[in-house]
Symmetry: C2
Subunit: 412 residues, 2 copies
């Protein structure tokens, strides 16, 4: 991997304190899969009774671990999670499937569970065979070291071109008891809409049945991980898994209509959005974090498609990098989205500065005011289509020379 | 406009000799619309009887001149063409429409025709009002200087961020008579599929009825201008117009089934492809010209969609810039296209080097051989999906730091 000297300007200077999730313990290891001198394996074990749900990449060419997860998610039971960075085990043919099976069996033997209760994820280079002995060499020792924290170590072990670890936590009360939700994520490249982008793992001690957990995580992903884009590219390996250990001392939640879920939904949405934002804020080579809001669309779906057309446009993204309030490129991106739009009803804002209205430049438009917005590290772009009530926000970053440098040299 | 010191490595050192097209004369002018010290207006006049056809951008937010052309193309009659660079007259509201009307009227007065027989195109910055007096100030003088050439001057006047003028010519025999087809194009940014990309103007002295001309140019655009992409962005102003003056001494061609069109179709396809390649070879900041061929798809349409998914992928394009035979990113781009594909049937080539087969790395794959292909200025990427007989080729360029520099600073 090309190591970039570029560190995201949004890298947190302080990381949150993350409490343990009862019923989950983990450790990390240096398996030397690709990197040297850093951890590249995360191994987590869950107490019996843990449920699992997830959202996986929609690609037609999924990695072997994604296929494994897809096959085993319906059972909804998890006892272990094994993740590595440095090699995606994608497009590795029969050998790749064999690696997955052997790894799951090795982890299952250590934990004392069925291989199908072991969930796997791999991220890194595509097309390189992944040697299963890399896992077996470290599994026993790693399993002997599992502990309830620190979560930051877990976040570090799954990084590839990320420049900082991504971790978030929420606590809430249900029936007077404290419930915890923790999550980690990795991203940086191949981040795009309409799938469970990148790798993210969320765990809670709430006792939530697997089908309910599935509906919760799918909905949370929609407004968060599925609303960010870095380069419009969709990975073969995108995996979002959520585990519920059930150790919190409250009555089991077995229905999606359970009223006790209201606060949990809000906390999960907020945690997912924070993780998704952290991923976008670590976009390769970025200097700007950009929120694109489209309103007045004929539907929320149409608004999201137009927002992504803007957020994925190289010309919009380079304009952000150049701090150029180039709203003509916003018009272009709205026009090419193929969704209902009428040029003469469009209005466009950068921050609070309206630059265009009724299909033409705002007569009161101040270039200075718009430029001042563009100089901020976080830029808000807003488009009102003036057609209906559909609204959506997506998040992205700018496109810089550093992105090209990082990705023009990844494998060397 | 940010003037880049970067000149395309594919800039021709010698330009073709372009013969006149009888019945067409033109001149260029410095109207000072945006640029200083260079021509920015092209004014062409056609003899009475000239037919016209065209393909226009599919954007929902077209420029005022595009709307003008769309309204007047059905009549199929042209007496003049007025083109400017530096200002796209797009998203300029009522004022923009007024500029178009006044410009067409001024040109019509000079030529002595109806305003609806004047075709207009503008390229450059979006959202800036275009002052119609810029045209009226130069029209009379320009009209007094019209001549059958040089075509290179015409190509120069319509450039924006292009680093070289784009001109091509073909001659062929029909009924023993020489027929000429000439064309110019400009491109560089906002180049993407499924529309008449950028500006291109083609003229022939063949006597071809407007409806026939329309079918010819639509078909030629499909395999050429609609098969290139630079950044996936679709302009508000893309315009391809074709004029037929009818001065060649052959019997009129009034039916698309006319057998005499066979050679003409081939010549037009070849000229269109040459112009489209020249556009892709002047992609902003490029160092590589990349042909992406997808075969074995379930249909030609599916093949083209997958080819564009590859050609528009920032990760594929940066890999080309870095001369990295990163076929994992090709797999990713195939997978995200959303078209039928089966991972375990995929085969991938860089040039003649097969790097992947049956859903895994080719056991005989030589990294050195693949790297040698990537070092060439022209790179061929080929994917066989192994599903059917659908095939398509599209062309693109790499994504470099220079692209970001050019587009991060365009308006300043």
């Amino acid at each position: 991997m090309a190591v970039s000297a570029h560190i995201s300007p949004f890298a947190p200077s302080v990381f949150p304190d993350v409490p343990p999730v009862a019923g989950m313990r983990f450790a990390t290891a240096e398996a030397g899969i690709k990197y040297r001198g850093r951890t590249d394996v995360l191994f987590a074990v869950f107490d019996p009774g843990t449920t699992v749900a997830g959202v996986l990449t929609t690609t037609r060419c999924p990695s072997a671990p994604v296929e494994w997860c897809r096959a085993n998610l319906p059972a909804g039971k998890a006892r272990a999670l094994l993740v590595n960075s440095g090699n995606a085990n994608a497009f590795t043919g029969l050998k790749g499937r064999e690696t997955v099976r052997l790894s799951a069996e090795a982890a299952a033997a250590v934990v004392g569970c069925a291989p199908e209760e072991v969930f796997l994820a791999s991220t890194g280079v595509i097309g390189e065979p992944l040697d299963p002995s890399k896992f077996s060499a470290v599994l026993s020792d790693t399993a002997a070291r599992v502990a309830p924290g620190p979560w930051l170590d877990a976040a570090r072990a799954i990084m590839t071109t990320d420049t900082f670890p991504k971790v978030a936590s929420r606590t809430l009360k249900i029936d007077g008891e404290t419930v915890t939700i923790n999550g980690i994520a990795k991203g940086a490249g191949m981040i795009a809409p309409n799938m469970a982008t990148m790798l993210s793992f969320i765990a809670t001690d709430a006792p939530i049945a697997a089908p309910v957990l599935q509906s919760l995580i799918a909905r949370a992903a929609d407004g968060s991980f599925n609303a960010i884009t870095i380069d419009g590219d969709t990975s073969t390996s995108d995996t979002l898994l959520m585990f519920a250990t059930g150790k919190a001392q409250i009555a089991p939640i077995t229905e999606a209509t359970d009223r006790r879920l209201a606060g949990f939904r809000r906390a999960l949405a907020s945690l997912s959005l924070e993780l998704a934002h952290l991923v976008a804020k670590d976009g390769e080579g970025l200097t700007k974090f950009v929120a694109v809001t489209v309103e007045g669309a004929t539907s929320a779906k149409s608004a999201k498609k137009i927002a992504f057309s803007i957020a994925n446009s190289p010309l919009v993204k380079t304009a952000c990098a150049g701090e150029d309030a180039n709203w003509g490129r916003i018009v272009m991106a709205v026009g090419k989205a193929g969704e209902p739009a009428e040029r003469d009803r469009l209005a466009i804002w950068f921050g609070d500065v309206r630059v265009a209205v009724d299909g033409a430049r705002d007569p009161d438009y101040s270039e200075d005011a718009a430029s001042a917005v563009m100089k901020r590290p976080e830029i808000a772009i807003r488009v009102d289509l003036g057609l209906g009530r559909g609204k959506a926000t997506v998040w992205t970053c700018d496109l810089t020379k550093e992105y090209v440098a990082i990705n023009g040299d990844y494998r060397s």
